[in-house]
Subunit: 150 residues, 2 copies
């Protein structure tokens, strides 16, 4: 247990400070989390987009791996938007919490499209993979247009 | 396709600029990615640590969900350390690339411990879950001590 206490002090303390006991999450912790998930999505999304746009050789295995990861990440995003989690670094519009049903529906669209993309990508059908990718990208854009700052 | 091109321009362009065509990844992109994964791990790790330390009521389902996510994230980290991916914001020591075999072995220890933790957490054995968590935390600390800046 000593190692854990040391670990928690050294590693968690840095980001949680004296609020370790609090049940609520600090706004900057939520922003770091959700921006982290978005970066992880982008890390996989960019090479896939380059393949779809013919800027990189098509590799179905890489494409399918990225799709599987994005499917997983898509399911972790909504939890990163607790009420009040706005900071200067955040690109989230306050409209998210004023129109939560619409926001969560758009996030669900992304989850659904990502799940379909992951299935299609495993099928090795390049044309269908591209189509499913574009549909997924459209769900990203739809949410960004409504709920992300310029 | 038009939507995708717009999407790629608006969303990817912001972080990739004119290097979209480049096969290599910009250092800051890799740093954003791996720090994002670390934030995602921490997001799940902290409530688990609070349960283990008795600071939050034990919830096996939440614990198991966190463990499953950390198992997934643990497998995505090593790819976030391409050679030369150092920026002012990065906490990675250059020793990572000088001692890559040791670094990747420590990362593998984390992956293995996380995989065991995820299995144990699904078993509903609270004592075993705590023990597996502490072993996982030890693999974090071991790598941070050697390869992360103070």
């Amino acid at each position: 247990m000593r190692a854990l206490v040391l670990f928690a002090t050294a590693v968690l303390g840095a980001s949680l400070g004296t609020t370790t006991l609090a049940a609520t999450v600090k706004p900057e912790t939520a922003v770091n989390y959700r921006q982290g998930i978005y970066h992880a999505i982008l890390w996989n999304f960019v090479p896939m987009a380059q393949m779809v746009r013919g800027m990189r050789p098509w590799n179905q295995a890489t494409f399918a791996q990225g799709a599987a990861r994005i499917e997983f990440y898509s399911q972790q995003l909504l939890g990163g938007f607790p009420p009040g989690s706005l900071t200067a670094r955040s690109e989230a519009k306050p409209a998210i919490w004023q129109h939560w049903a619409e926001f969560s529906a758009k996030m669900q669209n992304f989850e659904n499209a990502s799940a379909t993309l992951a299935v299609v990508a495993r099928s090795s059908d390049q044309a269908a993979s591209k189509a499913a990718f574009i549909k997924t990208a459209d769900t990203c854009k739809s949410c960004h247009d409504a709920f992300r700052k310029e």
